[in-house]
Symmetry: C2
Subunit: 212 residues, 2 copies
């Protein structure tokens, strides 16, 4: 398969979300024009994106919604189960643990880890256990954990991530305010909340300057 | 000012973060080459990005760290205070409210809103009050709220956002699993957690296919 651009990969989950909504509305076929109107991207962009993966549709007939949804799901790796743990059982860690949609999409959150003795041994709203951070290395090795979500501050996040890489973890979902800086062999997907908020204020400030 | 590309805007908060780290290490000047090594982007990319805003540096002398930090801060609208409320006082809403860095960077979170009677009247860890969602419209009008963070499910998020737009809100930081779909006049910055996670599994799946 040829190398797919980051922009296309970023759009795939969005296609998946809109196709999911169409399925829920019992829509069976959709044209690139209809998808385009819903999603506010051009129809040619949609065709071009999907052509990266071989097309999925026949010219003039539109796409079979369920088929396209399943195929994009496979591209996104959602046809297999991913075992994930969360490091940091504060509000953010618990928010991630309780987010119902993840479970429906093949993510199995098996435990949270924290150093806070008041939290260790408790369970999140949906019943996931909070474990002692000092037991994480053994746990990750024994339970075959694929993804580690880092919901703790920058310093401890970096330390724990380095230890986890040493024991074989290859993928991090990183909420800490750092880029981690591993080699390309390790997959890191960042959610930098404050950077997202700054993009928002950039646009507020840009608009204010325009209206001056 | 000419139109700045989305990619550049996305990189600005990252420059800001790295410059902040340099300030904390008492570094006074930095070359684009040094920044490039730290940030894993090319030096020419950095020069090109900053040239969009007039340059900030003299060829061969590098950048004055504090000056560049302040100037990028102004571009990001961080030289003024932004009043923000959070709708939804669950784990995610409270995680946002308690995130310390926001306050240091000119964001003033004045209240959270929820419909859950068990939460109304309580305060978050850092002392922000949780108010009754039924009072939000008056509050937003009286308190001159600029940004509304939506930390609640898709359906109610869409409803409340529409009402808030009617009473003048122009900027949403949206964590709900929807694009809201307002006109360009309304600024929406999305944080779609599940889409970020799917990008991660895309890369896991891509790597697995490569190694086959």
């Amino acid at each position: 398969m040829r190398k797919i651009s980051k922009a296309v990969i970023t759009r795939l989950p969005r296609y998946y979300r809109y196709l999911d909504e169409l399925i829920q509305q019992d829509v069976e076929r959709v044209s690139s024009k209809e998808l385009s109107d819903m999603m506010n991207v051009t129809a040619s962009q949609i065709r071009q994106d999907l052509n990266n993966f071989g097309g999925f549709g026949q010219q003039g007939y539109g796409y079979n919604v369920k088929y396209l949804y399943d195929e994009i799901g496979k591209l996104l790796g959602l046809d297999v189960t991913h075992k994930m743990i969360i490091v940091g059982a504060g509000n953010l860690g618990q928010a991630i643990a309780n987010y119902g949609n993840f479970r429906n999409r093949g993510f199995e959150i098996t435990a949270l880890f924290d150093k806070n003795k008041d939290l260790i041994g408790k369970k999140t709203v949906n019943g996931t256990e909070i474990r002692d951070i000092s037991t994480i290395i053994d746990y990750v090795k024994n339970e075959n954990i694929e993804i580690v979500a880092l919901a703790l501050p920058k310093g401890p996040a970096t330390d724990i991530a380095e230890k986890l890489v040493e024991c074989g973890v290859k993928a991090f979902w990183n909420f800490a305010h750092t880029d981690l800086g591993f080699s390309d062999d390790i997959i890191v997907e960042n959610v930098h909340l404050s950077e997202s908020l700054m993009k928002l204020t950039y646009r507020i400030s840009e608009k204010a300057n325009k209206n001056k």
